[in-house]
């Protein structure tokens, strides 16, 4: 039916396509291996027993955006576990803001190096990210680089865990009901790694990987306490998914406690800062500015 030449080119095309496909997949695996190996060796931090504490509260100024309804009707299991599902990334109670990731971004240890140049004791327990009620619990998570993280599925449905890292390995893995935990580590420091379930697109969490353990995710009362901080001067950052980032300079004295409060403005969202509307005054549509 096909001429000899046509058969030849057909075979060549199929072989080249398959080769390109397999090479592309192999290349990804190689890149993933490379991620873990290029970190400079850090000096182990030796405690002098004079570490201090950073504490504070995160507040929201103005009205919080109203929670938006979520349509879970595509998965009956999710519907059964959520009578009236709404977005919950803005957790506010009495003007105090939850789900804020507060961490030391940079700074100098008194009489020593930069905080990033030290290695600290790894937390003894693995971090846990659970899929419960077709939500991620917790919504914001902090871990130390190379700390084990267990991703569990407590739901009677299947999820996929899509980790959209930039500096670390990206991965996407499904997890059925009752499946064992997915055990992973993040090789290097990287903040704001989105984790998504593409099965249920309202499910989103953020993992923040740091080279040190000086971080805290605020609860609904907005408080945070970071203990065991070596004396020094640091840049403290508070980040919220909707309201963006605030920074403060703090000086931790030996065995001292320093307080640093943050206040976010409820009227401004982080996302609009990068919006194409904002950057395109010529075709600006103010009614869609979400103010």
């Amino acid at each position: 039916m096909l001429s000899q030449r046509a058969r030849f080119w057909l075979a060549v095309s199929v072989m080249v396509s398959l080769l390109a496909f397999s090479l592309a997949c192999k290349k990804k695996a190689v890149e993933d291996d490379e991620v873990a190996e290029d970190q400079p060796a850090a000096t182990p931090y030796k405690s002098k027993g004079d570490e201090g504490t950073i504490t504070g509260k995160v507040s929201l100024n103005g009205a919080a955006p109203a929670p938006k309804p979520i349509d879970m009707s595509q998965d009956g299991a999710c519907v059964q576990m959520n009578a009236n599902p709404h977005s919950d990334e803005v957790a506010v109670k009495d003007g105090k803001l939850g789900y804020v990731f507060v961490y030391i971004k940079d700074g100098q240890v008194t009489g020593g190096k930069k905080v990033k140049d030290y290695s600290f004791d790894m937390p003894s327990q693995p971090a846990v990210l659970d899929q419960r009620g077709c939500r991620y619990e917790p919504h914001v998570l902090g871990v130390v680089a190379k700390q084990t993280i267990n991703v569990t599925n407590s739901d009677p449905t299947t999820h996929n865990v899509n980790v959209q890292a930039k500096s670390n390995e990206k991965w996407n893995q499904s997890q059925t009901q009752g499946a064992p935990p997915i055990v992973k580590t993040f090789a290097r420091a990287e903040t704001l790694i989105p984790i998504k379930c593409n099965q249920h697109p309202w499910m989103k969490a953020y993992v923040n990987v740091l080279s040190h353990p000086f971080f805290f995710v605020t609860k609904e009362d907005g408080t945070f306490t970071i203990t065991g901080v070596p004396p020094g001067t640091y840049t403290l950052v508070a980040w919220h998914e909707k309201f963006g980032e605030k920074t403060a300079q703090v000086k931790v004295d030996a065995k001292g406690t320093v307080t640093s409060d943050f206040t976010f403005d409820g009227g401004a969202t982080a996302a609009i800062e990068d919006s194409s509307l904002k950057l395109m005054p010529a075709i600006e549509f103010p009614m869609l500015g979400h103010h």
């Binding site: 039916m1 057909l10 199929v14 595509q74 009956g76 996407n172 593409n198 099965q199 249920h200 919006s275």
Partner: protein, 308 residues
């Protein structure tokens, strides 16, 4: 002439448009990675279609069906189509759909890198255009004897239609890259958005001029006037859809999940874009079938005069 073959080709072409719509629904629902494995979904041929897996696995099933239809079309062409170049075009379409399937697999295995996702979207349009061409070539209207007409006007409608096709394709490629640069919960990148808007203006100018010129010069020839009118009408709808899609898409990052009208408007915009491209293909092919350049006409006249 085989009417059955033509009807089947048109059917496969329509199935491909449906596949493009299904693919657009996957992107708009952010379902592309709902099944981390490929070609199976969760290791199964028929997994439980819950959540966004409905869109992703549904797209894979429709794609498989279109692949099978393209194989059947090729068998039919090689058995019944006397023109070797049409048979070869059918084979080219088959190679395209195989490559498209592999690209689809790459999007999943490589976690949606921009260049693979955009290439997948662009190849989909080229595959659709190839089937549109096959539909034109197998049509009775193409195969019946026609007297060619000398091109009138300073600009050739044939080459205007080719330019409109090329420009529309570039515009679709820009749109695909723009679309795959950001998921529903992110704002679209401004540089690509501006490029896409500029492309829309250029397509409006070039395709609009092509349509008007065709209607002005050959308005009495339904073979050319019909696709020209359709191209103009669909282009108008597409521009309106473009503005509405932009507005809906810009509001989307504030939503807790992909929602209508963003989904339906974006998918309609993608499908309508494919139809605009298809109409430029039909117009260009028919223009080359019906029209000849004035130089060709002069040469033919001289040849006939010399013979007589």
């Amino acid at each position: 002439m085989n009417r059955g073959l033509h009807r089947f080709t048109v059917f496969v072409t329509c199935a491909t448009l449906f596949l493009i719509v299904a693919g657009a629904l996957v992107t708009s629902h952010d379902a592309g990675l709902a099944a981390p494995d490929w070609p199976l979904s969760y290791g199964q041929v028929f997994p439980k279609m819950v959540g966004n897996l409905f869109w992703e696995h549904g797209h894979r099933m429709i794609a498989t069906a279109v692949g099978l239809l393209t194989i059947i079309l090729n068998v039919w062409l090689w058995r019944r189509e006397p023109r070797a170049w049409v048979r070869r075009l059918g084979l080219f379409a088959l190679l395209m759909v195989i490559a498209q399937g592999l690209l689809g697999g790459l999007t999943v295995r490589l976690l949606l890198p921009l260049w693979v996702s955009s290439a997948h979207a662009c190849l989909a349009q080229l595959f659709f255009c190839t089937l549109v061409s096959l539909s034109v070539f197998t049509a009775p209207g193409w195969q019946q004897q026609r007297e060619t007409i000398e091109e009138a006007g300073s600009l050739s409608v044939r080459y205007l239609a080719v330019a409109a096709f090329a420009l529309t394709f570039v515009q679709l490629a820009l749109g695909a890259t723009l679309r795959h640069s950001a998921t529903w919960d992110q704002y679209l990148p401004t540089n690509l958005l501006l490029a896409h808007i500029t492309g829309a203006v250029l397509v409006l100018l070039v395709l609009g001029y092509t349509v008007l010129t065709t209607l002005r010069l050959y308005g009495d020839r339904a073979y050319l006037a019909r696709p020209a009118k359709l191209a103009g009408a669909i282009l108008g709808v597409q521009l309106v859809l473009g503005v509405l899609t932009f507005l809906a898409r810009n509001a989307s990052p504030e939503d807790p999940q992909p929602l209508n009208p963003m989904i339906s408007l974006t998918v309609a915009h993608v499908a309508c874009g494919a139809l605009v491209l298809a109409m430029t293909v039909v117009l260009a092919l028919r223009a080359f079938r019906l029209l000849r350049s004035s130089q060709t006409a002069t040469a033919q006249y001289q040849m006939n005069a010399a013979r007589s």
